[in-house]
Symmetry: C2
Subunit: 346 residues, 2 copies
């Protein structure tokens, strides 16, 4: 991603963090946090205390950096809150759990407007609320002296409700690979924004606020999923993690994948046509939609929202992701994909 143009006026606004102070910011942000039914002790003490009726807690952390994972001129504060929460909620869902609480670490330049931070808090709260989760704690500090960028670190805690956690390592030859959720929409929206456009609105909105299929995670666990992960780095990359950890080959069925992700035709075809690309490239390599992929025993009935897109095979020559027998990266490159997975360091 290119370096962000500064968006908010960078002279200290009257409601800047520097003016309002740490505790003022926390008070304003917490007013937007909502309440977590699972919290015995909520925000404002040394730590939160969360009920874990299952006797276990699912825990995951994601870090979003301004200029790497979001731009303030491309996404509203609310969008960024939604996106930061979604990345974590999807990770919990990918274990078969439901998020019950978030903790938020925030490093922001002192000239950051508290209204912007309130917007982030609102987005976090809105994304969590349908699951019954809320922000229960956090820390707000000043960004590095040399940096004008916000760093947002979100930790999600979740409950398994008695389910066995679904790992990446449980896929077995003969299983089917299934998909829940969208692929390629966020990458398509990013391509649109990069070129200075803001439509098709559906693609741009998908980039700003992913819509992961949270309920599909626990449903897959209940249906006997043998392995599961969320697609944050791109289908080929994340199916690769699953293949690697399970010691199997994942073979994608191109027809089924196209049917599951590109039919009926929509914004991906529209943008690909305008830019002269193939929408399947985004489906294979686009990250950040936070779809879920899972493997199921061949006789399992797939829960609602899940569609078969491939099969799991033995890996005599080592783990790999294939598209109908061909190495996935070669297929993606032939389609014009810019990379075969989300690259974090560049």
């Amino acid at each position: 991603m290119t370096r962000p143009r500064p968006l908010v006026p960078r002279e200290d606004p009257a409601d800047s963090v520097r003016v309002v102070g740490e505790f003022g910011v926390i008070a304003r942000v917490l007013a937007r946090a909502g309440a977590a039914p699972a919290a015995e002790v909520g925000p404002g003490d040394d730590a939160a205390v969360l009920r874990t009726p299952d006797g276990r807690v699912v825990a995951t952390t994601d870090v979003l950096v301004e200029g790497r994972h979001f731009r303030r001129d491309w996404s509203s504060a609310e969008d960024i809150g939604h996106k930061a929460a979604a990345a974590n909620l999807a990770d919990v869902a990918a274990m078969g759990g439901v998020t019950t609480a978030l903790l938020v670490g925030l490093a922001c330049p002192p000239d950051t407007s508290t209204a912007w931070l309130e917007g982030v808090a609102t987005g976090l709260a809105e994304e969590c609320a349908p699951l019954g989760a809320a922000v229960v704690g956090g820390d707000t500090v000043s960004a590095a002296p040399d940096s004008g960028a916000v760093v947002l670190s979100v930790t999600a805690l979740g409950d398994l409700g008695g389910r066995v956690p679904v790992l990446r390592s449980g896929a077995r030859p003969g299983d089917v690979l299934a998909l829940a959720g969208r692929l390629g929409w966020s990458a398509c929206g990013l391509a649109v924004l990069r070129r200075g456009f803001t439509s098709p609105v559906a693609a741009v909105a998908a980039h700003r606020r992913p819509a992961p299929p949270y309920a599909a995670g626990p449903a897959a666990a209940d249906a006997g999923a043998t392995a599961m992960c969320d697609v944050s780095d791109g289908l080929l990359a994340d199916a690769g993690h699953l293949a690697h950890d399970s010691g199997v080959v994942v073979d994608l069925d191109r027809t089924a994948l196209v049917q599951a992700t590109l039919e009926p035709p929509g914004p991906l075809q529209q943008v690909a046509a305008a830019l002269g690309g193939d929408p399947l490239a985004w489906v294979l390599t686009g990250g950040e939609d936070h779809a879920l992929i899972a493997t199921f025993p061949p006789d399992a009935a797939l829960p609602d929202g899940w569609t078969t897109i491939g099969a799991v095979r033995e890996a005599p020559e080592g783990p790999a992701v294939l598209v109908e027998g061909e190495p996935g990266e070669i297929v993606a490159e032939a389609l014009g994909a810019e990379g075969t997975g989300h690259v974090h360091f560049r």
Copy 2:
């Protein structure tokens, strides 16, 4: 804190994050992570799963920013790991809990040496290990394009072992205020480093690696502590949070405080004499030692490691922290304190 001089050679070392890549970094760092007995699922999947035998989990997050909370030329990577863990472990202890696991979010410039990151991981692991805790998950991303600073966000999860969590809001008039741990040592060590010195070693070491009295937290809860918090912002500031949340006046006994913190004489007196200050200023306002303060009913037997340093009184004119009847800030200013609490935004 002044802007850090760049320490590590900023041309890409052969083991830089950019060269090794995200997954290489994660593998190397995890090799240092140790194992958490409470982890049913450890690092490497979408999320960790942690056993919570108490039916609740304590959760807290702290963010450390290079140039604000640490400098690479003043602290080794291991020191920074120790310090980041300590801030969180002390927060869990201040609720009456014991940390069982950490999650770590890391934003670092691509030229960061993985050896340095391994050092941070080693420090985190070493600080956790005596409690039986370890890093169970995290996220590693590239710092903002404009920033050469590392941002470290640590979330600690802990177990209450059936104890009632000790809040900041439970202090009652008639309670005694007690202290466990050191005060002023980190601030004294920082004053030494700021002036370009590296001794007295004990003070500098205290700044680099705080030594919070973790066991004193659960012990205080067992002994019936009515309120508790850790001293991360300075005694006056954190006693102020306790006074405010409890609606009481906290009155510090100067003689008892001096006895508890400055006797027998040590590095604080030595450095204060050299710089022409009063060591009690550091005791009152120095943060980051992560001592614990707690209030106990007047008839409670204080557990080992706890010393009475004041009393809780009614607050007819509102919550306040006094030093023998005088406003704490006025006393601190008279002693030459540079500020009456850790200021995060500047």
